[in-house]
């Protein structure tokens, strides 16, 4: 009775994750994060992903502000922000975001402003794609939880 609905949702999760791995959006580092989650820290993956999104958004905002400034010249600062993004993206397993950040960083090292603007657009695009995917994943997970809880609840109320 509990089985079918949850199985289907589980299948959805698997399909989504497999697709993300296949596309190179995520890499095995993402799985390493799962290993760190346990009973003593049951929401670790969720928490750390949220921190990643918060921090990344701040960095991307700052990058855009810097580059939009007509008198912009602080490529070093761009580099520092990108180092952060590259680092955290690697640590979370966001392979594609990491790679496009590296490309962006190369443009900043050459003081290439149009290259940087292009780089930023690509990073923003990849980042938002990842975020939407994660969001979708979370939605499915939430369904699994509420479904499981509901069934469990019903089962307890009426075991027949």
């Amino acid at each position: 009775m509990l089985g079918l609905g949850v199985d289907r949702l589980q299948a959805d999760i698997n399909r989504l994750l497999t697709s993300l791995f296949h596309q190179g959006v995520l890499d095995e580092q993402f799985l390493q994060l799962q290993q760190l989650q346990d009973d003593t820290s049951p929401t670790f993956v969720y928490d750390v992903i949220n921190i990643y999104f918060d921090e990344s958004e701040k960095l991307l905002r700052n990058l855009r502000l810097l580059l939009m400034d007509r008198e912009f010249s602080d490529y070093k600062k761009i580099g520092l922000h990108l180092n952060q993004l590259v680092g955290s993206s690697s640590s979370i397993g966001a392979r594609r975001v990491r790679n496009v950040c590296v490309a962006f960083r190369s443009a900043s090292e050459l003081n290439n402003r149009p290259g940087c603007l292009r780089g930023l657009e690509v990073v923003e695009h990849e980042y938002h794609y990842l975020k939407n995917m994660m969001h979708e994943l979370f939605q499915v997970l939430i369904h699994v939880i509420s479904y499981t809880h509901n069934s469990l609840y019903n089962y307890l109320i009426d075991p027949t």
Partner: protein
């Protein structure tokens, strides 16, 4: 072994300016059964250590109190604003109070020159981010060895305060990996440094690591081994 269970739990001080990285390293360390304190800068790290170790302000005559919650390891990010991980490392090794604490540097950049500079300055290990559980497992024997060594040294210090000449001490604890614990006043340079190459996942980094290994081998031959008087070394 005659020690209370609580004494075996290692206390690690983790330093990183990124909240994300702090969260990650904290979880990794907790998963490795370590007690963790995280701070977001080198300054805060030094502040924490000073409060913890009960240090007298005079650097020449520093008394280490046997605080039950000493820091057994410091793991720090390299790239930090203000005081970098390297700056922090230098400060720690220059301080008679803290130089006995093993330091590990982390970085998301694989820069061989940076790595060798840190190791030369006295860092025990250099981890490339993302750090994994396997990396931290390596640190346990290191922290164990240091903890035992320091306890032994404290005993000797107490003894030498009463007696007044040279003391020959036979250490009961032998380190299986190296020749044995040399009784020398907390100078990490005296032991031949065993450099562990970080297991790196990507192929592109193997090349630079090999380069680093050969650089390191070249360096260890040149490194001076200070001799200290007054205490016999036992091998």
């Amino acid at each position: 072994m005659g020690m209370a269970a609580a004494e075996w739990q290692f206390h690690v001080l983790a330093v990183d300016d990124s909240l994300f990285d702090r969260k990650l390293i904290e979880r990794l360390l907790q998963k490795s059964s370590c007690q963790v304190t995280t701070v977001d800068s080198g300054y805060k790290a030094l502040e924490f250590l000073s409060l913890r170790q009960g240090v007298e302000s005079n650097n020449d005559t520093t008394v280490l109190s046997t605080s039950p919650q000493e820091v057994d390891l410091i793991i720090t990010d390299y790239c930090m604003p203000g005081m970098t991980g390297y700056d922090l490392l230098k400060k720690l090794k220059e301080s008679s109070a803290f130089k006995h604490i093993p330091v590990v540097i982390m970085s998301s950049e694989n820069v061989p020159a940076r790595i060798s500079r840190c190791l030369e300055e006295g860092a025990e290990e250099f981890f490339l981010k993302p750090v994994r559980l396997a990396n931290l497992n390596k640190l346990k024997p290191l922290m164990m060895k240091t903890k035992l060594k320091n306890q032994k040294l404290e005993e000797i210090e107490k003894l030498s305060k009463d007696a007044n000449g040279t003391i020959e001490v036979e250490p009961e604890i032998k380190d299986s990996a190296e020749m044995g614990i040399k009784i020398l006043p907390l100078q990490s340079e005296a032991e031949p440094k065993q450099v562990h190459l970080q297991v790196v996942q990507q192929e592109e980094q193997t090349l630079s690591n090999n380069k680093r290994k050969s650089m390191e081998e070249g360096l260890s031959a040149d490194r001076p081994r200070p001799r200290l008087e007054g205490i016999a070394t036992a091998v």
